[in-house]
Amino acid sequence: MLDISQRRYQVLGTAWLAWFVNYIDRTKTAALLPLIIASLAMTTQQTGWVLFAFFIGYAAVQPVAGFVTDLVGPKKALALSVGAFAIFTWTMALVGSWQDLLIRNALFGIAEGFEVTAGSRLSATWFPAQTRGRAFAFHQTAYTIGPILAPFIAVPIATATGSWRWSFMVIAFFGLPVLAVIDRFVVDRPERDPRVSQKELDYIFGHEEATKKKGTVLDPAKAHVADELPPGERITPYREIFLNRSVFLMFCAGFFGLLAAWGLTTWLPTYGVQQLKLPLIVAGSLSSVVYLGSLCGVVSGGILSDKLFATKRTPIWLLGGVIMAAAVLWAISFQPGTPIIAAYIAFFIAGFAVSWGPVGQLFAPYLAELLTPGAVGRSLGVVVLGGMVGSAVAQPLTAALIVQTATGPQYWRAFVMFAVCGILMSVCVAGMIEPQVRRTYLGYLFSGKQVGSWQPASSGV
């Protein structure tokens, strides 16, 4: 039975809440997009650029966000992010043109960008390796539940009040309780929390590590000997973080994975209205189905990684891209009159599989185990940068790939691109080191499950 008096669950719950509100806030724009397009008389290309602005702002800030998180601690970074995006949300209710929306969407993206590194680092620091996959899977359920609910919050407010702007006004207030909870429950590291018990510290770090290691150097790149570091950390120089083959491949896999994921989910309500001729609320629910699939994907992926694959992370990611490609290729055949249940099934599978990617889930546990929990912020900054550049490119690229026909817009070329991205994501993952077997996972399987010779660069081997 889960004991919520344990501090690690309170910290994880708070990180989850912040991530949940972050996703409600960002996906409400996609849900309201058909209304915003009509209100501001935007063309498809202008819409693509407005969406691009959010993702390029989010991407540009990632390396900075990673460093800030590791420098000032995840609590302050989290509070800064939530506070900033709460303010930028209401400013977006006052836009009068697409250029105005583009600028504010970029600033909103910058504000939201600080959240992921902070929340991920908290999860990686507060949980031991044996439960880190499931803990982080729980954290990642927020990015699936938030978007499922967003259309059912944002669209009814807009239709009831007669304006999409009121949805922005109401959702801007969601950040306030999150800030109060961060203030109350979050502490950067377990051993620095006066409310944590010795028993819980023993559980998180192991008895010997928790009692003997008392180092105060928080940056694993600046320590000279292991004893300078707090429990659970090892020396990890900058070259090991930034000149790392697996981190680079994760960056590339993130680019392809999020290009497909965000290209699909952002444009899906518009696709539903324009190509499938569905009512707005039904079209919006297509995105919700993708996120429902992602919810099942992150939960099952975390459990399978911890239990079935014995804390190996990359096997889950290998499967994700291929399955997603197959589901999206099936969806190419959908036209007006296609049974809605077929669309729901295809997009559920696509959402399930796309969450089995290196920027969908397990990325914080993987980086904590490949490097060290104290380097998760900046290494994740690099990885999410790749993902967010993919997300940013996805918006105008998808817009450019929509074919205008006599019967209305057709999205098949965009869907082919998403499928190719899924395959490329799996190819990148195939080259990444699986720390638990000290080689790539495919190398491990093809060698008859022989453990390899890979060692962290700082281990001296």
Binding site: L35, K75, G96, L179, D183
Partner: protein
């Protein structure tokens, strides 16, 4: 008189030529869209910002 009739016709033509906005879309001008509730909107914005600044400063200025 003729000018006002022409103006009315031109407005009518523009109104007929443009598609009606779907429910929830509203006009492009935010102040026209919010109408009489513009003052309430601005008050809510100020309240939101004050609370955000309170919490962010409280968290940032507290010693670890």
């Amino acid at each position: 008189m003729a000018a006002s009739i022409l103006w009315s016709i031109s407005i009518l033509l523009v109104a007929l030529a443009s598609k009606p906005l779907p429910p929830g879309a509203g006009p492009a001008n935010p102040f026209q869209d919010f109408g009489l509730l513009t003052g309430l909107v601005l008050a809510l914005d100020v309240i939101n910002t004050v609370f955000v600044l309170f919490y962010v400063l409280r968290i940032w200025l507290r010693r670890a």
